[in-house]
Each structure stands twice: as structure tokens, then as C-alpha cells.
Symmetry: C2
């Protein structure tokens, strides 16, 4: 037997229907917010990903040479591709552009529970403005998407990478010394941050204050104490979020986020039911376009881990009910077999989901097949009934049978 | 600027919305026929494709080694993957299985008009039975899909690979000599077929009769003359197709189809508006599962070239109208900016597609932005109106303006 590649999945009908259902819910929310869908290729020139994330990214992704010797890679995420598309094809369109996408991404890593080599991301980008409104719009969309899926418990956390920067600056740390210190703080590695701070002449008191800040998470009561531009920006952002009806936001002062390209607000949504791997959405404001050969354009965006949020819905035991056929059509014998297909075809054209016996089963077996599909009705086509342009309709739940004229069959089944 | 890889495409919002619309139509038809969607990975172990199509397929596809040294390939089509999935994970389910799929496929070939290295297929398979009913069901689904898209002119052609085989057998040609001759006939290379036939002792008269058959295309008036099992089978099939309401079928006697794994009926749908590359759908009955390590299971299936059929709709100038926002919300000034987001949020929750000014535009510019989105209404949030819990609604077509209470705003805009 030929196996599927390691870390990939097949989606069987029941699971696939569930996935399409939730995908469609998310698409609906994006459309209600007037975001518009785009799509980019499954693979890109490798330089796109190294331009965004540095040369080491190649070790973690599916990179290879095509037959023409070009370095290409399966996309590990979609923001870089959407920005490439923007720079190449959309930079003259009116801004801001509000775009969304859904598709497979790939990373070459050890497969483990809930992490796959082929996984799905649903994300959005607002390109061409960076103000509190665009950040609020992005966060509002992300929150509306999570709500639309029906996830009961989730935490939305918002931070601003400027807060700790401002603090360091006020303590006399030079900009070019910050990156190293911030990296340590991001990992909460205080032991390693301490000597770096002391070497820059930071006092013990300032140091302790800084460390305390990195642990601060709370509601909007924290807002007034935040100094500088980041504070003003966050106060504005929270006013917009409140207008959007988003009131359960946590302010995470210590947020740094590893990625260099974030420029201001960053946010995350977590589903506590997932335990250690609880992040289901992450995003923030960034500039990327100039790395890809375009002008500096401010953007804000996020991606939802589609597989992980579906796992969260499962953990919360959110019910999803697969659809069943409206009707299963069967013939009482060979003499009316062809006619049974005429009846099935008629009902399908009326918009009903109709299955039909393809196996020339005898009545009793065909009835069992009908039951196994979960069909609501069996439509039994027999010679005697056909003589009066009628068929027998059996309600599969109640067992009740009725003679129905073919003319009225469609509307009868739709009741 | 970093370019996208050769032979691939980006889909911008207008095109993407059109594609999703048609994708969704096709999915609806599959569901009304009680086919169920499945999905498989973008890449597979290369041996899957060589098992189906022979080792030379590797020259035409994206094949590479992953970091673990495994030979993997981007899928060039989906039937092999669906059969692998069936053999590994679905062989115990009740048959027949009626499955459909939609997704990207990849081939490494010279890009040319209408042919891409990344392209999309929408297909279906009925697994576990090979009789006239299943073939008819597959053909009926394909035809219903093409009709649902609104393609005006198309030709459905059905053949049976047994017809020419039966004819050759009746002329005394041994089964093991047939493949070579059939290949020549498939390409209508009569000059090359002739010496092969004469060497097998076929008379000139028989040979001419055979050649004439390969050119025979017509309606069901050709049916009575077809001898042998293939004739009986086709007569049965055409009776079912008639019951399905499919009456414009062409019978193509000379059909052979290059692929070895077809076992009986083969069919194609062509869109004449596409010129030389006019085939938009191809399929037939086959056994593949035993090549993949399973038992011999008869199946029938087809794939629609999604890109090509969309191109056909374009050539036929089938209109597709992109959706516009229901409303664009804007503020008359800074004092009510936050409130404008509250109004937008309210309307979105009511299910409307609502855009909102994110750029702090002045009234006249914001109104221009509203117009450029094609929004049906502009909702103008001003301090005076808000004092009476109202906003101004402007019909962007007529220019008519009206004061509407926020409470009634949603239902007003939905009219």
C-alpha cells in the first residue's frame, strides 16, 4: 500500500464537510466586513521567504529546485505572498486594501499532536494605513471570526511593541542596544537580561520596574499608566475596540513578539482548552513591502490557525451535524429501474439532495441502503403507482408511507 | 521586485470572487447528487504517480526530495490520490462511494495560453461499482455541473473502449497484439496502423471497415449497429442518460483514450468556443485500486478543468457581477469618529456587508471613497443626528438622503 506523506492528512467526507462549513462561516464574516479574498500560488521563489524571515527559514520549509534550476519553496505562511502580490499587482489600487485568504501552508518539522507539515491558514491584511482604526478593524475582524465559529472560551490579548522600547529609552538605553535585551525579555529570560541592562548603566530600581512591566497583563485599567506614544495609541485603539463591541480585551504590556517586522500593535487570540499550544490567532501592524522591492507601506494583519481553531471547537465539544440526503430513490424492480432515475433527476433539479440506488438492489436491501445514508425520505418507484403518475414516499423516521403524485413530489419533500 | 514563479497566477479580488462563485455552484450540484467532498495533500509520495502513469510521468511533474530524502511530488491530478485514500482509509465503507474534490494540481511544462503550471481541477469518482447506472450517474453529474455554470454551447461525447477491441477480436487479432494497433488508431495514424493489421492477416475490407468505425460520431441512431457486449452496455447507458434528461449526447465509436486503466465507458465534454484546446471535462470507468495495493474495485470518474471551463464562460461573455458593499459608514468629523464604528459594527452584526472609513477622511473625500467601493448606501454619522439616535442614509444611486433612526437602520438598508 502506498502511504500518504508523513505529517499530511486526508480529509474524509464527514470531516471535510465540517471544514467547509467553518471555512464558509469565516468567509462570510470577512465579506460582512468588506474584506475581499485573494489567492497566491502554493509555491513561491525561495527568496521571498528569505527576504522576509532570513536565510535560516530554508531549514524549516519545503525548499527545492525545479527542473529549470530555480529555487522554489512551498509557502510556510501567506503574508509574504500577499505583500508580493500587492507590490507587483495592486500597488496602484485605492487604499487601504482589505484582503483575506485561506489556504494550505507547509513547514518541514517533526509532526506532533495538532501540528502538521501541511496545515491551513485563514488570514487577513489591511494594506496602506497604520492607525488605530486599521488595527481596530483587523482585531474586530479576528474577534468576529472566532465568535462566528462558536468558540466559547477565548482570550484576546493586545500589546504594543513600543511600550518596552519607550521604557528602555527613558532609562538611557540606546536604540541599537535594544534588540538583544528585548529578545531576552520576550522569552522572560531575566537572568540573561540583567547583565545586559547593568552594563548599560540601568539602575536596580529601573531594572525591577522594567521586569515588573513585562509581567503586567490586565484590563483597560492599565491604560492610563502607559506613557509615551504607545500609550496614546493604545488608548485610542481601545476606544475604537469598545465601539466595535469588543470589551473583553487583555492588555499585555510585556509583549514583544519575536518578529522584527512588527511596527506597533500586536495581538493574539488564545483558546485555553488547547493547553500549551493554545494560540489560534496572531497578528499585528508591520511594514514588509519595502523588503520586497516596494515602497514602505504600513499594514496590519493576522492569521488564524484553521486546524488549531477547529481542534479547539472539538475540545469544547461543539456539535457539527453532517447533512443527510433529502431523499433516496429506489425502484421496486427491473421494469421501473430506468424510471427511478427520471424521478431522481427531477428532484435534483428542484434543488433537493437526492441519492439513488446504483446497485440494482432488491427492495429490502435498497431500503437498508436508504436508511444507511440517513436520508429523510425513501422515494419508492413502482409500476402500479407510476401508472397514475405517482410514487410512494416513506418517512424514514416515522415509517409512515404515502402515495404522492410526481408533480407534487418536490414540494412535498421540501416541507 | 520578487516575482511569482513562472506559470503560476495570483488571483486578485474580482477574479477570486468569480472563481469562488463558480466553485460554490459546482459544489452545490455535487451535493444535490449526494456526492461528498474529500481532500488529499498537495504533495504525495512520487511512487503513487509512477504506479498509475509509469516512470516517465516524473519528467512532467514537480518531483523532488524532502529533507528526509523521500521522493515526493506535487500532485498532477487527483484520481490517484483519491484512490490511495480509498484503499488506505475507506475500503470498508458501504459502496458505492460517491466522492468529489476540488483543488490545485501541478505539472512542469512550458506555460502557454490557458495552460498553467498550477491549475485547478474539480472532479468526482464513484467507487465500488461498474455498471451502466454508475456511468450514467457520473455523466449526469458532469453535465449538470456544466449546465449549472451556464455554459451555453458544449458537446458531450461518449464512447466505449470495448467497441474497437471487439471489432479487432472479430477480425482475428489476438488480445496481446491490440495495444499497439489501438494506440495508432487513437491518434488516427492509419498509415502506421495498416501494416500492423495486414501482418495479423486482416483483410483489406475489414481494415477499411475498422478505419471507418474510428471516424464514426453520431447520435443514438448509431446504437443498434454496435455489436457485442459494448453495444449492449451502451444501449443500457443511453436509456439511463435519457431518464436523466440528457439527450444531446454524441456517440463516439472511435474513442480509445490513451490511458491504459480505462475499462469501458469513456466520455468528454468540449466547449467549442475554446478552439483547439476545447476539452473541459474527461472521464470514464477504470480500475486503479489494485495498482495501489488494494483489491480490484471498479470505479468511474471524471475531472473538469476548472480554469479552462472558466475561460470558456469568459469567451461566451457570461456576465459575472462582483458584489459591492451594502453600506459605507463615514463620520462628519473627529467628534463622532468612534461612534461611526459603533454603527458599522451594528450593521455587520445584522449580516450586512459594511465598509467604514479607516483613513480619517474629510466628508467630501470619504463620500468619494464610498462611491469608489460601489456601496449601495452611504451612512453618514453626524453629531446632530446622533443626538436623536439617528444617522443620515444616502442612496448612492439616486443621491436621495434620509434621516433614519439607528434602531431601524439595519432593516432600512436591507429593503
Amino acid at each position: 500500500m502506498i502511504q500518504r506523506p508523513r505529517g499530511t492528512r486526508d480529509f474524509l467526507p464527514e470531516e471535510m464537510e465540517r471544514r467547509r462549513h467553518y471555512e464558509s462561516l469565516l468567509r462570510g464574516v470577512c465579506r460582512s466586513h468588506c474584506f475581499r479574498e485573494v489567492a497566491t500560488p502554493i509555491f513561491e521563489n525561495t527568496e521571498l521567504f528569505t527576504a522576509k524571515s532570513g536565510p535560516n527559514i530554508v531549514d524549516e520549509i519545503y525548499s527545492f529546485q525545479d527542473k529549470g534550476g530555480r529555487d522554489i519553496s512551498l509557502r510556510p505562511e501567506l503574508t509574504a505572498a500577499v505583500m508580493r502580490m500587492f507590490v507587483n499587482e495592486m500597488s496602484n489600487l485605492p487604499r487601504p486594501l482589505k484582503l483575506f485568504y485561506f489556504g494550505q501552508c507547509f513547514r518541514y518539522e517533526r509532526p506532533q499532536s495538532g501540528r502538521y507539515r501541511e496545515f491551513f491558514q485563514f488570514g487577513a491584511e489591511i494594506i496602506g494605513a497604520a492607525n488605530a482604526e486599521t488595527d481596530a478593524e483587523a482585531i474586530a475582524l479576528a474577534a468576529a471570526m472566532v465568535r462566528a465559529l462558536g468558540l466559547r472560551e477565548y482570550h484576546l490579548r493586545v500589546g504594543h511593541i513600543g511600550i518596552l522600547r519607550d521604557k528602555l529609552r527613558s532609562m538611557g538605553v540606546a536604540d541599537h542596544d535594544m534588540a538583544e535585551i528585548l529578545q531576552k525579555l520576550d522569552k522572560k529570560s531575566y537572568d540573561e537580561a540583567e547583565p545586559l541592562l547593568l552594563a548599560r548603566g540601568v539602575s536596580d530600581k529601573d531594572k525591577e520596574e522594567l521586569f515588573a512591566m513585562t509581567r503586567m497583563v490586565g484590563g483597560k485599567e492599565l491604560l492610563p499608566a502607559i506613557e509615551g506614544e504607545a500609550g496614546d495609541y493604545l488608548r485610542e485603539l481601545f476606544a475604537f475596540l469598545d465601539a466595535y463591541g469588543i470589551r473583553d480585551v487583555q492588555l499585555d504590556i510585556g509583549t514583544v513578539r519575536g518578529l522584527d517586522y512588527y511596527t506597533g500593535v500586536v495581538f493574539e487570540i488564545e483558546a485555553p482548552c488547547l493547553g500549551a499550544e493554545k494560540q489560534v490567532c496572531g497578528g499585528g501592524s508591520y511594514t514588509l513591502s519595502e523588503m520586497l522591492g516596494g515602497d514602505a507601506v504600513f499594514s496590519t494583519g493576522f492569521a488564524i490557525g484553521f486546524d488549531r481553531i477547529l481542534l479547539a471547537l472539538e475540545r469544547e465539544e461543539q456539535a457539527f451535524v453532517n447533512r443527510s440526503p433529502d431523499a433516496f430513490v429506489l425502484a421496486t424492480g427491473e421494469d421501473v429501474r430506468v424510471e427511478s432515475f427520471r424521478v431522481a433527476s427531477l428532484l435534483r433539479e428542484a434543488g433537493l439532495a437526492v441519492d439513488v440506488d446504483l446497485m440494482r438492489r432488491k427492495m429490502s436491501k435498497a431500503m437498508k441502503a436508504a436508511a444507511s445514508t440517513g436520508a429523510r425520505y425513501a422515494v419508492i418507484v413502482g409500476a402500479k403507482e407510476l401508472a397514475t403518475d405517482s410514487v410512494t414516499v416513506r418517512d424514514m423516521q416515522s415509517g409512515e408511507q404515502k402515495l404522492v403524485s410526481i408533480e407534487e413530489l418536490g414540494s412535498h419533500l421540501m416541507d
